[in-house]
Symmetry: C2
């Protein structure tokens, strides 16, 4: 008998979450913007309930801030926020390393190397959307290898915030040297290949400190 692939119900709530999330990450919704429920119901063609529920989830995700009886606003990251986000990312990716530095096989490394190569192509082509997409794929692959759903969930929240921040960086620094990501990812793969946890932690810290300072600079340039 023909084997069908499982069809999973995707609720309106989840669809709304995805739309608002990408709108924030891609900068169509600007930091500080008031997200009015009724305006979203008009645009999305759904009622307020799924919108409200989506906003609750996005607040938990750190992309939205809501005040009682006043509504939801696109989160405007402060300089401290940026530091906190990236130091948490270091903690999570270090934990990832501890969980899976001995788990990676040859084809895992091959996959990571392949991502790096594809990344190079997109950088020379200047295809920013793809650059970000592969960047996330690279890190998510490792995080998923940890097989710790908790690391996964926290990291996914963080990475949505970072995506928003990198969009801000791209606005402030249009000629940003994306090739840095190549050497970053390469040094991470090297550390994993050598099963050198300390080297991995050092690389994580170095990389995230740099990106954090870039994002702080971007915020200062744009925000005031």
């Amino acid at each position: 008998m023909q084997s069908f692939s499982r069809i999973q119900p995707i609720s309106l709530r989840e669809q709304v979450v995805q739309q608002i999330r990408t709108a924030i990450i891609e900068g169509q919704l600007k930091p500080g913007d008031h997200i009015v429920e009724s305006s979203l119901t008009d645009q999305l063609g759904v009622s307020r309930t799924p919108v409200r529920e989506a906003l609750i989830l996005l607040e938990r995700e750190g992309l939205v801030v809501s005040e009682a009886n006043r509504g939801s606003f696109v989160r405007a990251f402060t300089l401290e926020d940026v530091s906190n986000i990236f130091s948490m990312r270091v903690a999570l990716e270090n934990a990832t390393g501890e969980a899976c530095i001995d788990k990676l096989e040859d084809d895992d490394y091959a996959y990571l190397d392949n991502l790096i190569e594809r990344q190079k192509v997109h950088i020379t082509a200047g295809n920013h959307k793809e650059i970000r997409s592969i960047d996330v794929k690279f890190h998510r692959f490792l995080v998923e290898k940890s097989e710790n759903p908790l690391i996964n969930r926290f990291w996914s929240e963080i990475v949505a915030q970072i995506a928003a921040l990198l969009n801000i960086r791209a606005e402030a620094i249009p000629d940003y040297n994306e090739y840095l990501a190549i050497s970053d990812h390469t040094s991470i793969v090297v550390a994993y290949r050598q099963r050198d946890l300390e080297a991995l932690k050092a690389a994580n810290k170095r990389i995230n400190d740099r990106v954090a300072s870039e994002c702080r600079l971007a915020i200062e340039m744009l925000g005031g």
Copy 2:
């Protein structure tokens, strides 16, 4: 002019969250229980919307699992869940240490010592609710000292799950030796006093590995 303290509106949603959370943590709602929205509306005297919104938040908190079109269930922790939760706790409390091992002042240590002393009293009195409460206060104090809201939020989520687990442990092992917490907390304070990050990380790992194995044992004893 008289200075008033700010009065903050507490939504029905948040009240419902708190009630369900404590019901789960204190074991009135058992793992696997189907949480039927309409039965909660009856008991709480509110409509379904705040209940639904509360359940969404509790799912994010990891205390509730919900399946599409089937509803919400009290999360039944697996043995793997327990390992993941406590290794994440180690990661977070290590990050806490890195953030604030040089920040603590004399009165901070005095406060922590005082908590340990009060803890002893409650243990000899067999006052389990207070034991747990001070336990959380101890760790939360350090986490808040990190001044990283992200560490705070993630740790708070984790700690709600751990509270549920410790309730299970108490059911399975009624004569659990609570004095272990005293030596645990003492060794943490010692590490902080000596500003010895490695000692702190070792203590965190040792403590959480032990508690994790206790919780796994409890689950095996009860669950089958």
